[in-house]
Symmetry: C2
Subunit: 356 residues, 2 copies
C-alpha cells in the first residue's frame, strides 16, 4: 500500500513536472513546510481573544443578530450581511458594493471571514480593529446611511434588544450604545474564522494533502516574493504597500482618484498605498483588488507579479500559484440565521422610500 502510494505520487510528480514545463517543485514537502513556516501561521480553530472586548456567548449572540439586522440601516433593508454575505465567502462578489439608494460604493468589499486576524481594517487600514470598522458602513451615506443616534433610538425602541444588551454588557448603566453595538458585532465577527484549509493541514504536517502543482505554487509564492507582503495567519492583511511598487497597473485596475492610504495619513509616500490583501479564501471572493475590476484569479496573480515584483511569470507559474491560493479555502462557519426581535410602535420607520 505504501509503495503503491509512493509510486503514484512519483508518477503524479512526473506528470505535474511535464505539464508545468519546469515549474515543478524542487523541495521535498518537509523542506517546503519548514520554509513556509517562516512566513505563515496555521489559522487557529478557536475564536481568538480580543483586547478590551471579552468574546462572551451573550455578546456573540447579540452580535450575530446585529450583523443580520437591516434596521441598522436607514432603509431597513441593508445589513452587514448584505455586503459581507456569509454564504458567499464573507463578501458580496461585486466590483464595489451597492448601498443606500442603489449607490455604488468606492471600493471592493473585503471579506469578513478571518478579518479578526488583520492588523487593521479597510483597504487603507483606517480602522484599527473590527469594532472601529463596524461603525463605518452603518454611517456611510453610500452604504447604510444611518447615524449613531438613529441606531440607538431603533435599538432602544425594541424591548428584546434592550434585554440582549443588558445581558451582553452586564453591570453597565446604559448598555444600549453605538459603541456596544460595534463591540457585539466585533465579538460575533471574531467567530467567523475558517480553520482547516488544506494549506493549514499541510503546515500541520500532512505531506499529501496538497498536490504537486499546489506545492509548486507555494514554493513560487515564497521564492518570487509574494510572501514578503502576503504572510502571517491571513497570508496578508498585515502591512501597507504601494500598488505598483515596480510598475503601476492600468487606470482601470488602479483608478487614479483613489489614493489609498494617503487619505488616512496625508503623507505623499502613502500615495496609492493599500493594505496587502489577506488571501485566505481568496478563491471565494472574486472580483479582486480594491477596484474590484479583475474577476479572474490567474489574471490577478499575473498583475501582482508584474506590478509588485517586476516579474513576468510563465503561464504555468501563474497556474501553480493560483492552484496554491485555492488551498487557502477553509471551513466556513455554520451560522444559524437569527430570529430578530419585532419592532415596537416607537421604532423609527424605515426611510427606504427615499433615495439619498
Amino acid at each position: 500500500m505504501t509503495s503503491r502510494r509512493l509510486f503514484s505520487k512519483a508518477l503524479l510528480s512526473t506528470v505535474a513536472a511535464c505539464a508545468l514545463g519546469g515549474a515543478a517543485i524542487a523541495a521535498e514537502p518537509a523542506e517546503l513546510r519548514e520554509s513556509a513556516l517562516d512566513y505563515f501561521e496555521v489559522i487557529p480553530s478557536m475564536v481568538p481573544a480580543i483586547e478590551g472586548n471579552a468574546v462572551t456567548r451573550e455578546k456573540v449572540e447579540l452580535g450575530k443578530m446585529l450583523f443580520f439586522e437591516p434596521r441598522l440601516s436607514a432603509s431597513a433593508i441593508i445589513s452587514c450581511n448584505t455586503c459581507h454575505n456569509l454564504g458567499m465567502g464573507g463578501d458580496d462578489n461585486l466590483e464595489t458594493s451597492i448601498g443606500h439608494g442603489w449607490q455604488k460604493g468606492p471600493r471592493n468589499a473585503p471579506t469578513v471571514l478571518n478579518a479578526v486576524f488583520n492588523e487593521a481594517q479597510f483597504w487603507d487600514g483606517r480602522a484599527e480593529d473590527l469594532k472601529a470598522q463596524a461603525k463605518g458602513p452603518v454611517q456611510a451615506g453610500v452604504e447604510m446611511a444611518s447615524t449613531p443616534e438613529r441606531v440607538v433610538t431603533v435599538l432602544k425602541s425594541i424591548p428584546e434588544y434592550v434585554d440582549h444588551f443588558k445581558t451582553a454588557f452586564p453591570g453597565e448603566d446604559d448598555p444600549v450604545t453605538f459603541d456596544n453595538m460595534a463591540k457585539a458585532i466585533e465579538a460575533f465577527e471574531a467567530t467567523l474564522i475558517t480553520p482547516a484549509s488544506r494549506f493549514d493541514q499541510f503546515l500541520e504536517g500532512n505531506d499529501t494533502i496538497m498536490t504537486e502543482t499546489e506545492m509548486t505554487g507555494l514554493e513560487l509564492f515564497i521564492d518570487t516574493g509574494c510572501a514578503s507582503c502576503h504572510n502571517g495567519v491571513n497570508v496578508g492583511g498585515t502591512g501597507y504597500y504601494p500598488f505598483g511598487v515596480v510598475e503601476k497597473p492600468g487606470s482601470e485596475v488602479l483608478p487614479p482618484d483613489d489614493k489609498g492610504r494617503f487619505a488616512v495619513t496625508q503623507t505623499a509616500s502613502d500615495d496609492y498605498v493599500f493594505r496587502a490583501g489577506p488571501l485566505r479564501n481568496i478563491a471565494l471572493t472574486a472580483p479582486y483588488f480594491h477596484s474590484g475590476k479583475v474577476w479572474d484569479l490567474e489574471q490577478a496573480v499575473a498583475i501582482m507579479s508584474s506590478s509588485q515584483l517586476g516579474t513576468e511569470l510563465s503561464e504555468d507559474e501563474v497556474k501553480a500559484i493560483t492552484a496554491f491560493l485555492q488551498t487557502l479555502t477553509g471551513q466556513e462557519p455554520q451560522v444559524t440565521y437569527p430570529i430578530l426581535p419585532v419592532s415596537s410602535t416607537d421604532t423609527p420607520k424605515p426611510a427606504a422610500m427615499i433615495a439619498n
Copy 2:
C-alpha cells in the same frame, strides 16, 4: 397548588373583566374551543406534502440555497430572503419592498412563513402555488429583474449547483431548469411553518395558555364576523373578498389605482378584491394591508371591522382582538445559513451597476 391556581385564575379573570369594561369572555374555554374548531385548524408541525413536488431532503437543501441566492437577481444582491427575511417574520417589514435599482414595489410583501397553507399566492391570488409564485419576483423588473434564461445560465455555470440539481431531480436529462428552480424553492418554503403558537396549544386542549383577554379576543373574532373570512389553518389566505365590503377605507390605505384581483380576472365584481390576509404571525409582519400603510395592529383591526363588517368596535374590543392575534405567533424555523457555491469564470457578471 391546584386551588391556588384556580384562585389566581379567577382573580385574573375578574381583573381582566374590569379592565375590559364588558368585553370579558362569556364562554368557558372548552366551549370557546369547540366554537373555534368550527373555523380554525391546528397548524401541522410536520412539513406538508405538495402535489407533484415531493419534498425530499435534497430538494429542500437546494431550495434553501436558492432562497438565499442573490445571483438569481440581475444585480446579484437581491435574494428571496431580501424581501422575505426569515429573521423578520418572513417579510421585510416595509410598506412595499425595495427592488432592483432601488425601485419601490407595488404591494406589501406577504410573509413566506406558512405560505404553503394558503389557497393561492400573492395578494390577488394570481399564482396557484408557491412554485408559480417563486417565478414571479425573479423576473419582475422592480424586484430581481432577471430572466429564466439568465437564471439557467447562471446556475449551469456553477458546477456545484449542477450537481445539486442532479441530486434533487434524479433521472432528469436536463435538471437545471427555471421550473426546477421554482420547485426546489417551493420544497424549501414548505418547511417554513411555525407550529405551536399559543393559539394552537389552546386548540389542542390547553385551557390556561391564553389569557382571559386573549380568549375574549378570540370570541370577538368569531362573533363579530372576522372569522368568516379569516379562517382555516392560516386564519386567512383562503378566500377573496372586496376590501371595503361595507365601507371603503381612505385612499391612502386603499389606493384607487390598485384594483386587486380585477387585474387577474378582468371581472368587474373583482374590483378591489384581495385574498383575505393570512393572520398567522401577524404581530411580526407590520406594516399591514396590501398597501402597507398601517403600522399599528390595533389600527388595522379597527379599519377591518369598520370597512368589512360595518362594526365600530370599542377600544377594549380592539385591544382584545389584537391580544388574540398575538397568540398566533408560532415557533419560527431554525435555518442554517447556506454556504453558496462559488461562481465560475462563465458565470454572467452582476448587472448591479445598472439601475433599471
